[in-house]
């Protein structure tokens, strides 16, 4: 190519080939001379054409035989590909080539494309450069020490160069690359040992030292750059050695081991090879570097932890005295295979994995290839765990190499075929990506770079020549997702095989092993859990098949909640109830969120579980929005469903809607989607709608019974107490007053009877036991309590209040909210009571004293015997009553003057009082916080155990559940208690000042 040709070189051609810096590329092509154009096609195949070209210019300048090099590149396609691919993918190897330019000849070897170098040949070459005789049983280096160490590095890199060329150019399988790297490491360790022997001197003959590779090297699956994990074993060379000689042998072995490690890891002018890490040895860094076989044995028999056995899965003798090494492996392997039976094994192993994940700095977690969800470690961990569990009875699945083990596990049926293959693909991809990342600078890293040029280079090196960055990222994320999905399945699947015959060729997990696994996961009663699993998965129906795919995830979600056993049992009952309902399992399977929400509810809240068991179809609701419905929509829906029916059926329809809404609210609450204020509002709105619809149905029923066309009186229901204040809890009764007002000309007696019948019908219909939760309508707060008539006319209320007006009655009316029934009557009732509850001029001093006197009596007398006064939600220190009475006293005293106080809601009144400077904003905040805390714990307790409770729970399980519902960690129950006590104590201090004065 002449200069003129070069100028004509189409810039867009260069762009198409992947060059970025065109001017520079053109200049460099020119420097290389006329034949450079022939290389363009090859450069276009490399990971980074710009870098490859630049490096080639450098290389050409470094070699003595520039013409030979360029000719070889031009004439031999294989050589060109090998040289350019290496230069484009690895700047570290490019540097190596430039400082040892003669090594470019290595890449002309046509055998590289077809022949894997033998391990013995690699070892022989490595030993030869340090001047040791490969044929010797204990070769000793003879080259001067510094030269030997440098020569070892150059030779290591020469072999690495050949391997990288094979890898990049000839599409080697990732497992083959890893195996060759392991062989290279083994030979290097042996050569390093020869150098160590030379350093230690003649003494070294007194001891036989074996190097056992662990981890990746032991598994024959090493990375390009990685720590090489090893354990050392020694014995005195003389079998008859006495104690002194043995102790001496130990010292020599430790010296040899230390020197070996140093030879590999020292940085010299020729760089370093890799660190040798002996931390997996007994007692880790605190233990002696080398031990005798007997010493190893006693350690593993007595002290070793589960993960140490997991590590021993990969133990493989690689250097030194191989016979001794084999003795070691034979000694430990029976122990490895019995490790999984030990108590707490799985627990310990899982805990270890959690620690690993927790330790990744958050900044790099999502670029991390090895750790984290969907990383290499996930696959390796799952494979090793399955090996340990099943390898005892099945030797065929014991190979130490991850991909081989995976294949065997799949063949043996321990992993489904498709899952196994998908996992295989994902793992191979992730490993190859890791190799390419490390190859670039020969650095030990597992972080996928985030900058565009690096991603482009990596993508291209994996053959993604177009849109390299995006396609690489997509592929990576796909595999990651796949791994994290499969990881879970594979882990839980053996549990299912223990109870269900999945296919004739599947191996079954013993129920003892499955039980141990379940209890490690947090199931308190593994036997019951296995029975439940069996019931869910037995059979050959489609249902059972879907359950088998669902359950692994469900089991994990249950295990993360306070009550896994309860969750699984509830799930079984619901699944049985819904049986083959077509939408049920497919909803769970296809809409992951529904299944997760369901698992969370079932393993956390008895209340939700109970609602779901009453009507399993409620599961459908979980697919939708869990925010409470508005009251208009609710009332409309209830009335519409009631109108389609008659009598009890109509009320049942109303109660069914109520049950559904209770589930919506409680599920939202448990899942942390609504606040405690919203829950109170939603429950009160729901009660409004229920009463409204039931009042209408009851009216019809009574008119039907009495053969009336028109109602003789108008009716309304007044919400009282916590209901009136929009502060209902799930289990609360609805406190009400019934009021009526006869229509013109109606017979008073008849109207009264009618109204009473309607009120009784409302109470009966809602309170009757039935499939849907009942609502107790409590009218005991009415004038004269239970002695008084259930229903009064508006005039009768007026007469009563005119005659008897105790301050406590006015106080009770503060919470009155006429919400249901005839709108006109409601507003007249409100007009009637307002002057009573917000008396003009406030309260007399006597009345204030009276309120305080009653509160004092309530505090003393109402608290149940044996209750802890600091922990009672309602009557305890800083509890609900404390706060409500404080607010109510302010309302009675200042309600006539301050409009904001005229509300039935505690928190609204509280902030109005603060705005009117009746107490400080800080005090109001303190009271509100305590009120919310007590309400939340009270609601949480009810949700957790399905029954109302009035003090902070004592039982461990309930505490955990309440902690979980309130958003605490499950192991922080005492922190929750501390918070509760603090917040209520502060509130009590405010009450002491503001209420007691």
């Amino acid at each position: 190519m002449t200069r003129a040709d070069l100028r004509r070189t189409n810039r867009s051609d260069l762009l198409r080939l992947g060059f970025v810096d065109l001017d520079r590329a053109i200049a460099e092509l020119g420097e290389l001379g006329p034949d450079a154009g022939d290389l363009l096609a090859f450069l276009g195949q490399t990971a980074d054409p710009d870098a490859a070209l630049t490096a080639l210019v450098r290389l050409a300048a470094s070699v003595d035989d520039r013409d030979t090099l360029l000719t070889a590149l031009r004439d031999d396609e294989g050589t060109a590909m090998r040289v350019l691919c290496v230069l484009g993918a690895s700047s570290a190897l490019a540097d190596h080539l430039c400082s040892h330019p003669e090594q470019w000849h290595e890449l002309t070897d046509p055998a590289l494309g077809s022949t894997r170098p033998a391990a013995w040949a690699m070892r022989a070459a490595l030993l030869a450069v340090v001047g040791a005789d490969p044929a010797d049983a204990s070769p000793v280096a003879t080259a001067p020490d510094r030269e030997a160490v440098d020569a070892l590095r150059v030779e290591y890199r020469r072999q690495l160069l050949r391997l990288a060329a094979r890898d990049l150019t000839h599409h080697l399988g990732v497992d083959d690359v890893a195996a060759e790297l392991s062989d290279l490491a083994a030979g290097t360790l042996d050569a390093a040992l020869a150098v160590a022997r030379q350093r230690v001197g003649p003494d070294s003959a007194a001891v036989a030292l074996a190097v056992i590779a662990m981890g990746k090297c032991g598994g024959h699956e090493l990375n390009y750059v990685s720590d090489v994990d090893v354990i050392f074993v020694h014995r005195a060379a003389d079998p008859a050695a006495d104690d002194t000689a043995s102790a001496n042998a130990g010292r020599i072995a430790a010296k040899l081991a230390a020197q070996l490690m140093q030879v590999c890891s020292d940085h010299t002018a020729e760089g370093t090879i890799w660190p040798v890490d002996a931390a997996l040895r007994p007692e880790g860094k605190a233990g002696p570097l080398s031990r005798t076989l007997a010493s190893h044995q006693s350690y593993y028999e007595r002290w070793a932890e589960p993960w140490e056995f997991q590590a021993l899965l990969k133990a493989r003798p690689v250097a030194g005295d191989l016979g001794l090494g084999r003795d070691f492996v034979e000694m430990v392997s029976p122990m490895v295979w019995s490790a999984a039976d030990r108590d707490g094994f799985v627990d310990a192993a899982r805990a270890m994995r959690r620690r690993v994940i927790d330790h990744i700095p958050a900044k790099e977690a999502d670029r991390e290839l090895k750790l984290g969800a969907g990383g290499l470690r996930d696959v390796e961990f799952a494979v090793q765990l399955l090996q340990l569990v099943h390898g005892r009875s099945d030797e065929s699945i014991r190979p130490p190499t991850t991909l081989s083990a995976l294949a065997r596990l799949t063949r043996g049926g321990y992993i489904g075929r498709e899952d196994g293959e998908a996992l295989h693909r994902a793992y191979a991809f992730l490993r190859q990506l890791e190799h390419r990342i490390q190859l670039h600078r020969l650095q030990r890293t597992h972080v996928v770079p985030s900058d565009a040029p690096s991603m482009r280079r990596l993508g291209r090196s994996l053959g993604l020549l177009k849109e390299s960055e995006k396609r690489l990222d997509d592929t990576w994320q796909d595999h990651r997702r796949e791994v994290s999905r499969l990881h879970q399945k594979i882990f839980y699947r053996p549990l299912l095989s223990a109870v269900a015959k999945i296919g004739s060729d599947e191996v079954r997990l013993s129920s003892e092993a499955a039980g141990a696994r379940l209890s490690a996961l947090g199931y308190a009663d593994p036997k019951a859990a296995l029975r439940n699993l069996e019931a869910l998965t037995t059979g050959v129906s489609r249902t059972a098949a879907i359950q088998r795919t669902l359950l692994p995830a469900m089991l994990q979600w249950f295990a993360e909640c306070p009550d896994p056993d309860g969750g699984l049992f509830g799930f079984r009952r619901i699944s049985e109830a819904l049986g083959r309902t077509p939408w049920y399992l497919s909803t769970l399977r296809d809409e992951g969120e529904v299944a997760e929400r369901l698992a969370h509810l079932l393993a956390t809240s008895r209340y939700c579980t109970d609602l779901l068991e009453r009507e399993p179809a409620g599961v459908r609701l979980l697919a939708g929005d869990l925010r409470p419905l508005g009251s208009d929509a609710l009332t409309e829906e209830m009335l519409a469903s009631a109108r389609r029916q008659e009598g009890d059926k109509a009320v049942r329809a109303v109660r069914a809607v109520r049950r559904r809404e209770l589930l919506r609210i409680s599920a939202g609450d448990v899942l942390g989607m609504v606040t405690v204020d919203e829950v109170g509002f939603a429950l009160s709105r729901l009660t409004d709608a229920t009463l409204e619809a039931t009042l209408e149905v009851a009216g019809q029923t009574v008119r039907g019974q009495r053969r009336l066309d028109e109602a003789p009186t108008r009716m309304a229901i007044v919400a009282m107490g916590r209901y009136g204040g929009f502060e209902l809890s799930y289990g609360s009764d609805a406190d009400v007053l019934f009021v009526h007002d006869p229509v013109e000309g109606a017979d008073a007696q008849e109207a009264g009877n009618y109204a009473r019948a309607v009120a009784e019908e409302v109470r009966r219909a809602l309170g009757a036991p039935g499939p849907d939760p009942s609502l107790v309508v409590d009218a005991d707060l009415r004038p004269e309590g239970r002695q008084g008539p259930l229903v009064r006319t508006l005039d009768a209320y007026a007469a009563y209040y005119a005659k008897w007006s105790h301050v406590w009655e006015a106080q009770a009316l503060l919470r009155a909210d006429a919400v249901v029934g005839d709108p006109d009557l409601r507003s007249r009732f409100t007009a009637l009571i307002d002057p009573l509850r917000y008396p003009e001029g406030g309260l007399s001093d006597d009345d204030v004293l009276e309120v305080r006197r009653i509160k004092g009596r309530v505090d003393k007398e109402r608290l149940p015997r044996g209750a802890d006064p600091t922990l009672h939600f309602k009557l305890g220190r800083g509890g609900l009553a404390d706060i409500e009475w404080t607010v109510q006293l302010l309302q009675l005293r200042f309600g006539a003057r301050v409009a904001g106080l005229r509300t039935a809601q505690t928190l609204a009144a509280l902030s109005a009082a603060a705005d009117a400077d009746l107490l400080t904003h800080e005090d109001a905040e303190t009271l509100a916080a305590s009120w919310r805390m007590a309400s939340r714990v009270r609601n949480g307790l009810l949700l957790a155990r399905g029954r109302a409770g009035d003090q902070f729970p004592r039982a461990t399980l309930e505490r955990r559940a309440v902690a979980g519902i309130l958003g605490y960690q499950l192991v922080e129950t005492d922190r929750l208690m501390d918070d509760y006590l603090r917040i209520t104590r502060r509130a009590r201090a405010v009450v002491d000042r503001v209420f007691w004065g």
């Binding site: 002290w303 932890e305 802890d868 192991v971 129950t973 005492d974």
Partner: protein, 446 residues
Amino acid sequence: MGKQEDFVLRALEERDVRFVRLWFTDVLGFLKSVAVAPAELEGAFSEGIGFDGSAIEGFARVYEADMLALPDPTTFQILPWRSSEGPSTARMFCDIVMPDGSASYADPRNVLKRTLGRAAEQGFTFYTHPEIEFYLFKDEPKTGEDPIPMDRSGYFDHAAHSHGSDFRREAITMLEAMGISVEFSHHEAGPGQQEIDLRYADALSTADNIMTFRTVIREVALSQGLWATFMPKPFTEHPGSGMHTHLSLFEGDQNAFYEAGAEYQLSKTGRQFIAGILHHASEISVVTNQWVNSYKRMMFGGEAPSYICWGHNNRSAMIRVPMYKPLKGQSTRIELRSIDSACNPYLAYAVVLAAGLKGIENGYELPREAEDDVWALTEKERRNLGIQPLPRNLNEAITIAENSELLAETLGEQVFDFFLRNKRAEWDEYRGQVSAFERDRMLPVL
């Protein structure tokens, strides 16, 4: 199980340990101990040893009695006074956990750990160095009889054939055998009164060491036919037993109290820390001086402070900033002189640290240094200088403490509540006692 646990299990075998005492401390600072056989220890490490928490002062309400003691393997020690003949006994301190595995807020060790954790979040580690005073008597105390001190010597006296120095020699040997380094020891001012200073260490180790120290001193005394007491003020006419403690904060390897060139080489952090302790001194008094008797130590001057102030080498001040030693920047520290020997060291160090940290967090200004002998000033002069008195008795201390958010936050609600109720009861009981003082004064004349 980790390496520490393994180390302990191995030591049990090698040293032929037949019993392991698991130690923990109740809310009032009394040492509790449960002995287990070595075979049970492995289980104790993983699951803890169950016990009835309601039987321990301040630990639990009756109905949530089940608690677990989880031994801390880093505190493993062979007890030297039981190892001379035959098989030995060892001890470990425990953390208390609830049956669900959550740490108990009622455990004083956890109170200190939580507070140290808060300091660690700000990058601080807290070091303490206590000077523990105590009395030695000739015999066991008997109701109604005045105790007889072991000797009649005074401060730094060197008595020939002194029981005291024998005693101190043996006690120190034993402490050293348990890995507790002793810095200094001498005869104190009162008859039979001794002082032993422990080497500085992180506050949790120090608190553990103080608990061990009290046991060792009592054991050695018994073995020599003596009786040791840490009672704050056993004699009306002789000085009480304080536990002056030198405090310092480190940020990594750097002493956070040190600043070259600042006044007394005391950094801003150090000044704010002192300001924090001064500001909250009355509130935490109920913990640093927790007994009715504690307040009788603090009303006569001498080594025990009665007023909230600080000074440089001013022995009447509550906090003393010792003379700076050049070239020893790392040793910059302050000396808190109010704490007495009968406190619960976990709680006392926790509240002192919390008060100091408050000073740093809120950037409190350090008040003026007290240069005079504060006892010599008149009430008016002190008021003029803004020097407040410490609570004069337990009742005042409780009343102030009841409104202390700092105390509640630091101790945790359960300990706070129990502690104050217990102290209130102690005061009420004391208030009703008719004393020898009253009888001696009044019977003859009224």
